[in-house]
C-alpha cells in the first residue's frame, strides 16, 4: 500500500480541531504519528506517515490544505557539518523542538538528532551551508 511521510503545520487557530481523525473517517487512510509538537497558542507541527490508496492520499492532502494546514514532504535526513558551522545560532530560532540549540555556557551549537522531527524549517537558513537536508 502506498505511503507518504508528511510534515503538517497547524496554524494556532486550528490546532485544536480534530483534523487527523477526519483522514481516517473520510479518506480511509491509516496514519502513524511519528513525532508531534503542539503548544497552545502556538503553531503545531506533526510528522505523519499516511498509508492508503494513492488517490485517497491526494484527496486527504487536499482536505488538509483546505483546512489551512500547510503540508510538505518530510526530509529524509538532516546533518550538521561541524567544520563549517560558526555557531551563530540563526537556525535555533527556526527549530520548534529545540533539536538545534546553543549551549548555555559555551554558546556552541548542539544538534540533538533524537529531538529532530525533520520538519525542514531550518532548510535554507544556514548562512554557511552547514545544515544539509536530504529530501
Amino acid at each position: 500500500m502506498p505511503s507518504k511521510r508528511l510534515v503538517l503545520t497547524f496554524p494556532e487557530n486550528i490546532v485544536t480541531k480534530p483534523i487527523t481523525y477526519k483522514l481516517v473517517k473520510d479518506f480511509n487512510l491509516e496514519f502513524n504519528i511519528l513525532r508531534a509538537e503542539v503548544t497552545p497558542e502556538m503553531e503545531g507541527k506533526m510528522l505523519l506517515e499516511i498509508k492508503g490508496a494513492s488517490e485517497q492520499i491526494e484527496k486527504g492532502i487536499e482536505y488538509l490544505l483546505n483546512e489551512g494546514v500547510s503540508v510538505q514532504e518530510a526530509s529524509k535526513d538532516i546533518t550538521l557539518d561541524k567544520e563549517q558551522c560558526v555557531h551563530c545560532g540563526l537556525c535555533v530560532s527556526l527549530c520548534i523542538t529545540n533539536a538545534l540549540s546553543l549551549d548555555e555556557k559555551s554558546y556552541k551549537l548542539n544538534f540533538n538528532k533524537e529531538k529532530c522531527i525533520l520538519c525542514g524549517f531550518c532548510q535554507n537558513s544556514c548562512p554557511v551551508n552547514a545544515i544539509k537536508l536530504k529530501m
Binding site: G89, K108, N124, S125
Partner: protein, 389 residues
C-alpha cells in the same frame, strides 16, 4: 587618576599588563568596585563576529607584459570595480558571481584569496598607447599580487535591531529566514562583548585605533557609512538600535579564514562574517562605568521586516539577556530567537586579543582623530533637480 596609553603600553612591554575581556570585567567590577577596577585593570578586550556586507578588498595585481589598463575585471567570474589606475581593483563582498549567482560572490573570492587558493583573473580593456593589451586571462593568489588589503566601509555596528515577520509568508532577509506570523525573531549584536557598546561615546575608539581584524592587526580608518551617533540613548550611554559604525582597514595577506567567512543568505545574497576585536584602555573610572555594561542593560527595538519600507513598524524593545534566553514576547506571542552573529566566535576573539596583549604582541594606540559625535543619518529622497534646493 587617569591612565595614559603610554603607561599601559609600558606595562605590556614589561609583561605586567592586566587584561580582561568585556565579559570578565562584569563580575570583576561587581566584586571589586569601580575605583579598584580602574586602578588594577589596564585593558578590556571586546569583539564581534557577524555578517557585515559592507566589506571588500583593494587589490593591485601587478603589470602584465605587455601591460593592460583594465576597464572590466572578474575574479572567479565575480565582477570587481576597476575604475581606478591600470591594475587596481576593489572586490566587494556582496557582489554576486555571474555564473553561479548567490552560491558564490565577492566574499567567497576574498575567502579563497586568504586561504591561498588560486583565483581566476579575467580583464578586458580598450587599449591605449601605453597599455596596448585588450584582454587578459590568468591566475593569481594572494602571494603573486602586489597588495591585497581589506577596506570595509561599514563594520562593527553599535547595536542593531531585532527582525521579525508579521506577514503570512516566509521571508528571506539579511537577518535570515523569518517565518510567518511572528514565527521567529533574529538579532545581530554581540551585546555585552560588542566593541562600540563598551565605549558608547567613542572616548577611546577613534580614527587610527589599532584593532584585531580577521586575524591580522588592522586599524580604524574612518567612521563607517551610516554612522549615526545621534540615535536615542539610555542613561548608561548605549543607543537603542543601530548607531555608530566603523570603517576598517587591514592587510588581507595576514588574515585567517578562521576569523573571516563567506556566507549566503538564501533569497537575499552574499555576505561575509567578519571577526573584529577592539581593545579598550581603562583610562579612568568613567571608562569602567561603561565597560561594566551587561546584556540586560542593552536594549534594542523589534522591527517588522515584512513591511517593505524604509521605516518599519516597531513591536517594542527588548534587552540582550531576553534575546539570548531564546524566547521573547512579540505582539503577545512567545517567539523563538536566534542570533546571526556568533557569540562563541566573538568570545574566542576577545580571548585571543587578550592573549596577544599579555604576550606583548599587540600594543594599544591613541586615536589620531575622534569619531563624529553628532552626525545624523539621512534618507534618499526621490526629487527633481528643482525640488533639491
Amino acid at each position: 587618576m587617569a591612565k595614559s596609553i603610554e603607561e599601559i603600553n609600558e606595562k605590556i612591554k614589561q609583561g605586567k599588563v592586566v587584561v580582561l575581556t568585556a565579559e570578565e570585567i562584569i563580575d570583576y567590577v561587581e566584586e571589586n568596585g569601580v575605583k579598584k577596577t580602574a586602578r588594577e585593570v589596564d585593558v578590556v578586550t571586546t569583539a564581534t563576529f557577524g555578517p557585515m556586507c559592507s566589506t571588500g578588498a583593494f587589490l593591485n595585481f601587478g603589470h602584465s607584459d605587455p601591460p593592460i589598463k583594465m576597464t572590466r575585471v572578474w575574479l572567479n567570474d565575480v565582477p570587481a570595480y576597476t575604475g581606478l589606475a591600470a591594475v587596481d581593483a576593489y572586490i566587494g563582498a556582496a557582489e554576486l558571481s555571474e555564473t553561479e549567482g548567490m552560491e558564490y560572490g565577492g566574499a567567497y573570492v576574498i575567502q579563497d584569496l586568504i586561504s591561498g587558493k588560486p583565483v581566476k583573473l579575467r580583464a578586458t580593456a580598450y587599449g591605449t598607447d601605453c597599455y596596448p593589451r585588450r584582454e587578459i586571462n590568468t591566475y593569481i593568489t594572494k602571494d603573486t599580487i602586489n597588495q591585497a588589503y581589506l577596506f570595509n566601509p561599514r563594520n562593527v555596528y553599535q547595536n542593531y535591531s531585532v527582525a521579525t515577520n508579521s506577514s503570512d509568508r516566509v521571508i528571506y532577509t539579511y537577518m535570515g529566514k523569518l517565518l510567518p506570523n511572528f514565527g521567529n525573531a533574529t538579532y545581530s549584536s554581540a551585546g555585552q562583548l560588542s566593541p562600540l557598546l563598551n565605549d558608547p561615546y567613542y572616548r577611546t575608539i577613534g580614527i587610527g585605533t589599532r584593532i584585531f581584524l580577521a586575524g591580522a592587526q588592522g586599524y580604524v580608518a574612518w567612521c563607517g557609512t551610516q554612522h549615526n551617533p545621534s540615535k536615542e540613548r539610555l542613561p548608561n550611554g548605549t543607543p537603542i538600535g543601530p548607531a555608530g559604525t566603523l570603517a576598517l582597514i587591514g592587510n588581507l595577506k595576514e588574515m585567517s579564514t578562521k576569523y573571516l567567512k563567506a556566507c549566503t543568505f538564501h533569497g537575499y545574497g552574499v555576505s561575509i562574517f567578519v571577526g573584529v576585536g577592539i581593545p579598550i584602555p581603562v583610562i579612568d573610572e568613567e571608562m569602567v562605568q561603561f565597560l561594566k555594561i551587561k546584556d540586560e542593560d542593552i536594549y534594542t527595538e523589534i522591527l517588522d521586516y515584512s513591511v517593505q519600507r524604509r521605516n518599519k513598524p516597531s513591536y517594542g524593545k527588548v534587552n540582550y539577556k531576553q534575546l539570548r534566553s531564546g524566547k521573547i514576547t512579540v505582539n503577545g506571542k512567545e517567539v523563538q530567537t536566534g542570533s546571526i552573529s556568533s557569540y562563541y566566535k566573538a568570545r574566542e576573539i576577545a580571548n585571543l586579543l587578550k592573549d596577544w596583549i599579555k604576550e606583548g604582541k599587540f600594543y594599544l594606540t591613541n586615536y589620531v582623530a575622534p569619531l563624529p559625535a553628532e552626525e545624523r543619518i539621512k534618507g534618499l529622497e526621490i526629487v527633481s533637480q528643482e525640488e533639491l534646493y
